[in-house]
């Protein structure tokens, strides 16, 4: 009886663990004409943005569901508008986190949001 209990428990733990590790890797959509070198640079930049987003943005701008990466599906227009506002200095100056970020970091987050494959 006790061993059966253990088996069931370990089965569920495995299932839970699997759920965690099988989190999908973010796929980036980069147009075909981009050279391999630039493709790599863009991916690296977007990856930096992904880490920054998870740490500093997703607490408010996130969807906490199991197995998902927790980023809402911002439309390209929303991202462009935000980017324009950021360059105009309107939003980040009033934004608690973005106003602390360096220009490079804002750029990394924007790159991540615009290149990631949306569901």
């Amino acid at each position: 009886m006790k061993s059966l209990y253990l088996i069931i428990l370990s089965f569920f733990s495995f299932l839970l663990l699997h759920q965690c590790t099988s989190e999908k890797k973010t796929v980036y959509v980069i147009p075909d004409h981009v050279t391999p070198r630039n493709r790599q640079l863009l991916t690296e930049k977007a990856e930096k943005g992904r880490v920054l987003y998870k740490l500093h943005c997703s607490e408010c701008h996130g969807i906490f569901t199991k197995g998902k990466d927790g980023v809402p599906n911002f439309t390209q227009t929303q991202i462009d508008n935000y980017h324009a506002a950021a360059l105009m200095g309107i939003d980040p100056r009033n934004h608690a986190v973005a106003k602390k970020m360096s220009a490079e970091q804002v750029d990394q987050v924007i790159t991540f949001l615009s290149l990631r494959k949306r569901d």
Partner: protein, 639 residues
């Protein structure tokens, strides 16, 4: 009787309603009616120009008078126009025919070429008797009229629905009052600067009154208005001649305290900005002479999101070691401190321009002091870089300067256990970075030296704490802002090339000579190297005059060894005044005719801008490397 009562009540309601409707738009109406009046005046001026004979002195005089009158009319709306659309304002009263701009939100792009028009340029053009023609003169005014539509577009008019813009425009107005209005920056006829100020101040007082009736829940306080009225009385009691006007007292006793009140209004009323004018300004400061008045450079770089004081302390400690460490150069003999000596205000006062990397003479430009470099939007005298980190990277990898490369440099730094340990810890705080990078190294350096920019001078203390300065310093400041024309380029409060609203860096062509005999112009092309155009040839970014006593030699090429030489250069009207051929000089080539006591007073004022910087001793040793050949390196480098 009953019906009569009903009618009476109805009538009263309608009356009240219509009255309150009219009432609630009084402030906005003042804006539109003043704008229309100005437009009308400009159209009259245009008709006058078209019907005049420009060869007749009488006709010219009439045009001049009308321009003067229109300038006064413009002052009644200046408060709004400058804030709503500073780019279009350049068509009303631009100081230069063409300006190249790279404002803070645009610095990621190529500079913009912006043409000026309007009253100042028309007035200046009238003096060019040989080339004066009716079409060009009319065009300057026609452009101004055409641009007025920009001030009535929806995005402007909708701002009248809330009080927010008022406090932000008022802040800009106060800053301009301290930095621009009294210096003649855009008023070519210096005899009219104070009369125009005398009409500007009451016009804004009227705006305040109309604002109060429309937005009673967000008032300017009684204290503010009383102080403003006292300022009005002060300005009226001062001499009309701008070189005798006491600008020191105006700023210290009136403008700066008013600014403090206005900052409180902005915070208390939760004022929100939708304008790039407010991008750089910090709502938390309460003095114009607070070093945090505006934000220009991010000194933390890759560590921007790190808040932990202990970790930042480590960044600073390792930044200092790196600053002195020649490991950053290709031959392990030069460090940042080689040219930016931390005990000499982070510059090198012994040479005109620094030595090149290995033999082969000198670099073309004087090493600038790093103190207060954080208060620039564009870095380097030619504005080539947009960030301090970009500048640091350039110096380290440039063949003539430190001649290293990113990969080798990171590798060498990490052979030192002390650096490796600290950066490993810091790497955890920048999880987006996989490895310790060049970015970590340069950000530590910029974070270290930025601290030295936050010391104050006796002049700042007088302004901030309502303190005193000697009469000579006061006279020197008043001259700096008036007759000596320094304040038209070295703007309050940093006395560098950033003017309110502090979002862009300015460049000027002075005609700096190659030698003190003025045998020829320095052949350094300056800004032209970064942005080639006829206006940018030999243009350099305006540097601060703070700590000037300790940061000789002067000018981009270090040609002048003494302040007397510098002042003589300006007194003569720059390179063109000294008979060099400088067709695009932006500095007036007329002599200033400063007397020798006046020059003495100017120098006293400049000395009052010496900041009481507390310098640190260099590190006693550098981190030990596992590569033994690197352990012979000396603190601060060898040359």
């Amino acid at each position: 009787m009953k019906t009569f009562l009903v009618i009476l009540i109805l009538a009263a309601t309608v009356c009240c309603f219509s009255f309150s409707l009219r009432h609630s738009t009084q402030y906005k109406q003042l804006y539109t009616s003043s704008l229309d009046a100005y437009r009308n005046d400009q159209e009259q001026l245009l008709r006058l120009i078209r019907s005049s004979d420009l060869t007749k002195p009488d006709d010219l005089e009439k045009i001049r008078e009308k321009i003067a009158a229109n300038r006064i009319q413009l002052k009644s709306i200046d408060f709004w126009l400058r804030y709503f659309d500073p780019i279009s304002y350049r068509k009303e009263n631009g100081p230069l025919p063409v300006e190249w701009e790279t404002e803070v939100f645009e610095k990621f792009e190529m500079p913009y070429r912006r043409k000026g028009a309007g009253l100042s340029l028309a007035e200046k053009y009238m003096d060019e008797r040989e080339s004066l023609n009716k079409d060009s003169l009319s065009q300057l005014i026609q452009t101004s009229i055409d641009s007025l539509v920009m001030f009535k577009r929806d995005s402007v008019m909708m701002q009248f629905a809330s009080p927010d813009h008022f406090f932000l425009a008022n802040r800009l107005y106060l800053l301009n009052l301290a930095a621009v209005y009294t210096t003649g920056f855009e008023c070519p006829d210096t005899s009219r600067i104070i009369p125009e100020l005398r009409s500007l101040l009451p016009a804004v007082r009227n705006i305040y009154d109309q604002f109060a009736t429309d937005f009673p829940s967000t008032p300017l306080s009684k204290n503010y208005l009383e102080l403003y009225d006292r300022m009005l009385a002060f300005v009226n009691s001062q001499p009309k001649q701008f070189s005798l006007f006491d600008q020191f007292t105006l700023i210290r006793d009136y403008i700066n305290p008013l600014f403090k009140h206005n900052q409180q209004f902005i915070r208390n009323y939760n004022v929100l900005s939708i304008s790039f004018n407010d991008y750089a300004l910090n709502n938390e400061t309460s003095s114009i002479f607070d070093k945090s008045l505006f934000i220009s450079q991010n000194t933390k770089g890759i560590f921007s999101l790190v808040d932990d004081p202990a970790a930042l302390g480590e960044v600073k400690r390792v930044g200092k070691l790196l600053f002195y460490d020649p490991i950053l150069s290709g031959n392990n003999k030069r460090s940042c401190a080689s040219c930016h000596k931390p005990t000499e205000y982070f510059t090198d006062t012994s040479v005109a321009t620094a030595l090149q990397f290995e033999g082969g003479g000198h670099l073309p430009r004087n090493a600038p002091s790093l103190i207060n470099s954080v208060f620039n939007h564009l870095i380097m005298l030619d504005g080539k870089h947009i960030s301090l980190q970009g500048q640091a990277q350039d110096v380290m990898t440039k063949h003539e300067e430190m001649n290293s490369n990113e990969e080798e440099l990171v590798k060498k730094v990490l052979t030192c256990k002390e650096y490796r340990d600290v950066f490993k810890k810091l790497l955890k705080l920048t999880p987006e970075e996989k490895n310790i990078s060049f970015g970590h190294i340069i950000s530590a350096i910029t974070y270290y030296y930025a601290d030295f920019s936050y010391y104050y001078s006796p002049f700042d203390r007088a302004m901030n704490e309502n303190g005193g300065v000697s009469n000579e310093v006061k006279q020197g400041f008043n001259l700096f802002m008036s007759k000596a024309q320094c304040g038209t380029c070295h703007f309050v409060p940093h006395f560098n090339g950033i003017k309110p609203p502090y979002i862009g860096s300015e460049f000027e062509v002075l005609g700096v000579p190659a030698d003190t005999a003025y045998s020829r112009l320095s052949d350094d092309k300056g800004r032209y190297d970064a942005n080639p155009a006829s206006e940018t040839l030999h243009a350099f970014r305006t540097s601060t005059v703070r700590n000037i006593e300790f940061t000789k030699p002067y000018m981009h090429n270090g040609v002048f060894r003494t302040l007397d030489q510098v002042i003589d250069f300006y007194d003569a009207g720059g390179g063109a005044g000294k008979k060099l051929d400088v067709p695009n000089q932006t500095l007036a080539s007329d002599p200033l005719k400063l007397s020798s006591p006046e020059k003495g007073a100017l120098i006293s004022f400049l000395h009052s801008l010496n900041e009481n910087v507390i310098f640190e001793a260099p590190p006693s040793s550098l981190p030990v490397s596992s590569d033994k050949s690197l352990n012979a390196r000396k603190v601060g480098g060898e040359y």
